[in-house]
Amino acid sequence: MTETVLRSSAEKRRFTIDMRALSPFIALVALIIAGALINPDFLTASNLLNVVTRSAFIAIIAVGATFVIAGGGLDLSVGSMAALTAGVMILTLNNLGGGDVGTLALGMLAAIALSAACGLANGLIVTFGRIEPFIVTLGTMGIYRSLVIWLAAGGTITMRNFELRELYRPVYFDSILGVPIPIIAFLVVAAIGALILYRTSFGRHVVALGSNEDVARYSGVPIWRVRTLTYIIQGICVGIAVLVYVPRLGSATPTTGLLWELQAITAVVIGGTALKGGIGRIWGTVVGAVILELVANIMVLSNFVSEFLVGAVQGAIIIIAMLVQRSVHRGR
């Protein structure tokens, strides 16, 4: 009965769906053009590589957030989780004391294991406690954050072994074939993420779960396992981001990763992933993370707005992205 009505809107809809996927890329191009007009230094390879490098942490975390959000969940704890993981990783390295590759590898392993465990904790509480993910991760956000403050005794956790710092430094600062390693890391994470989300049955189950949990359950999708796994993937992504982040400063402080959850969620939403779940766009997320950093960069390079207002502009962007999403939704 309603088919007749929908029949007409189908043509329009196809267009809007494409719009949803394309809009982050259009915004990216528009920003690059705007940046080039504002400051000639903007469109240099070194500046652009710098911008993308800086966006790597958020991009990697946001790839994980794409899974959680596409599956109908939310993780607010990623910033705190990153700080805790960075702190524990540095403490592990310091305690091991060595300056060799083996020590570094052990420390990295500890970081990934811890972040995966943090994600597992979030996932288990959400699925088995049947509590809203917003509340659960709000709670763990506080827990993880305060644990790192406790470990640091309110101060800074710094890598003590100078050799190890020198050994580890290139992971953030070096390039392979002219491409900074963080950029390579985030492209690899995004590619693997896209492969999992778009090409595996697990990825299909995530989208089904986010679209309609009941339908997924009635279709025999193991919803508890799928949901918990999305949080574990989020945890592992945080761990990978930390691996790239630690060599940058070689320390972790109580303010490490502050508001990263906001930036990650913003990147995901700008990228066209539906906040209520059911649509996940990995490459859109990547572009979203780059857009956030581009905006900050353009603000620094231009004299229109104080760079201290970067957070305000990024906050405004998420609201605008939601408005765009909704108008696309209405267009159906």
């Binding site: 009965m1 309603t2 088919e3 007749t4 009505v5 929908l6 029949r7 007409s8 809107s9 189908a10 043509e11 329009k12 809809r13 196809r14 090409r199 595996t200 049955s201 697990f202 299909r204 189950h205 989208v207 089904a208 679209s211 309609n212 009941d214 339908v215 997924a216 359950r217 009635y218 279709s219 025999g220 999708v221 193991p222 059911g278 649509i279």
Partner: protein
């Protein structure tokens, strides 16, 4: 008599597609005018034009002989034209009275006057013949009572024309009968009633005149006098529909396939027992709320429950739908949109969701295999879709049901449980679904059909188990299948008494 609302040569196009062409219809005060047609015939579009939700592309409306255009549904309501929606549009956490007056609260010194609203609500509900407590939250009402509240809300505004869009889709026969009493009461008050339905027996029972639409065109307007349901079906579909039900396959055996003993679903079902045989179509009848859906949801692990289940003589227990599917049992929910299909995803994603491992190499999905499966499903199940990349939510009810069937059949089940197989499905598609169900049994599978349409149970099933208040009230063998025998078990009283009781209760 002069018509109160008249549509003249109404056409409606969405983009290049014309969904209504040149429809004329007139509604007289004190008549029930039924509009019937298959899904996609344009009934709902016509209804939405008459009630001001959308404007016609061509043609116009006349109210009491004067040309009129409505700016929207509110404008139409202010002219006394109200629409009772098919879906329940009530706020579940608000009380009946709060819902009735939502957006038009009675105020006193700027504050809501709960007492006045409660009294008005009580009066209106009493007029509708029901004693629903105005202070009860809507979420605690049965579906039938919710619908009554919805009708009450529509009738709150002064009305000259009341349009019902498939009002009985969620009602049992007894509840439907009390709705017809309300409609007859409206008619006797001189109100023009527009009645849209799939159910031709109901149309025969309640309507004075019938307009038939097919493919957006006006086929006929006839007096109900001398117009039998079979003829209505022929007009709707455009071909002879005398054989709606297929022959019952002679494959029903005595070999038990599934045995259920003392199944308990807390709050819904007490000690239900039954046996399902190979090659059999077993019907489950009863009133809405009798616990049929809950019994089978618990059986396949979708809700908590316990009891002794034997499959092929082996004791089994399913913790979730996945385990039940692995054992060869699928359950197709009555709630197609909420639990059956992902409305926001395309047909391919929906089709393979329950059997994704069949389309995977390792953990990767075989997209080409999925496409082939979709081609086959579209052909085998006659899923009518203009484009393959449509979303499931854009299909009509009948095609959604076919897609759901195709999806669940990919799991290659031995036992298929179908809850309300033809709810919201037009008659042409019904026939296809019935034939499909019969073919499942003919292939040696066992089928359970849960239905509130007694004709369907009688026409389709080898045996019917009837539930009442969470218990199995009895079983009707093929030779004894009749509406009366089912109603007797479902209500505990014979049919004539049941209607009286319904009128009294309602």
């Amino acid at each position: 008599m002069e018509s109160v609302l008249r549509a003249e040569n109404i056409s409606k196009s969405f983009g290049p597609i014309e969904v209504l062409s040149g429809i004329s219809l007139d509604l007289k005060p004190g008549e029930v005018h039924a509009v019937i047609g298959e899904n996609g015939a344009g009934k709902s579009t016509l209804m939405r034009i008459l009630s001001g939700h959308i404007a016609p592309t061509k043609g116009g409306l006349h109210l009491n002989g004067q040309p009129i255009t409505f700016s929207g549904p509110v404008d139409a309501e202010s002219h006394g034209i109200v629409l009772v929606h098919q879906e329940i549009l009530l706020a579940p956490d608000l009380t009946v009275a709060q819902n009735l007056f939502l957006g038009r609260e009675i105020r006193r010194f700027g504050f809501v006057d709960d007492r006045a609203m409660r009294e008005r609500t009580r009066a209106i509900l009493r007029e509708l013949g029901t004693g629903i407590d105005p202070d009860r939250e809507v979420s605690r009402l049965s579906i039938a009572d919710r619908q009554l509240v919805q009708i009450a809300r529509a009738l709150l505004v002064p009305h000259k024309v009341v349009a019902f869009d498939e009002p009985t889709a969620v009602l049992t026969p007894v509840e439907a009968e009390s709705l017809f009493d309300i409609i007859r009461k409206l008619r006797s008050q001189g109100v023009a009633v527009l009645y849209i339905s799939h159910r031709l027996n109901e149309v025969k029972a309640v309507a004075d005149r019938v307009t038939v639409l097919r493919d957006g065109r006006h086929i006929a307007t006839r007096d109900i006098e001398g117009l039998e349901p079979l003829e209505m079906a022929r007009l709707m579909v455009g071909r002879d529909m005398s054989k709606l039900y297929p022959d019952k396959p002679a494959t029903a055996s005595d070999q038990p396939l599934l045995g259920v003993r003392d199944m308990v679903v807390p709050g819904y079902v007490e000690n239900a027992s039954f046996t399902l045989h190979r090659g059999e179509i077993l019907g489950f009848g009863g009133l809405i709320g009798a616990g049929r859906t809950e019994l089978f949801e618990a059986l396949v692990g979708l809700r908590p429950g316990h009891g002794a289940i034997t499959l092929d003589g082996q004791k089994v227990h399913f913790r979730d739908a996945r385990e039940a599917m692995a054992a060869g049992i699928v359950y197709l929910s009555e709630d197609r949109k909420g639990k059956g299909l992902l409305l926001q995803q395309n047909l391919r994603v929906n089709l393979t969701l329950a059997a994704l491992e069949k389309f995977s190499h390792g953990s990767f999905i075989d997209g080409a295999g999925e496409e082939t499966a979709l081609d086959r499903a579209i052909k085998d199940f006659d899923i009518r879709t203009r484009r393959r990349d449509l979303l499931a939510g854009q299909l009509s009810g009948g095609n959604q049901q076919k897609l759901l069937l195709a999806k669940m059949m990919l799991a290659e089940p031995r036992i298929v449980i179908i809850d309300e197989p033809t709810r919201g499905v037009d008659i042409g598609t019904k026939e296809q679904i019935y034939r499909f169900i019969a073919s499942l049994a003919a292939e040696g599978r066992a089928v359970v059909v849960i239905s509130s349409e007694m004709q369907e149970l009688i026409g389709l099933c080898h045996r019917v188990v009837v539930m009442r208040n969470g218990r199995v009230a009895g079983e009707v063998a093929q030779a004894d299948l009749s509406e009366d025998s089912i109603v007797y078990l479902a209500t505990g009283v014979h049919e004539e008494r049941a209607a009286e009781i319904a009128a009294g209760h309602a």
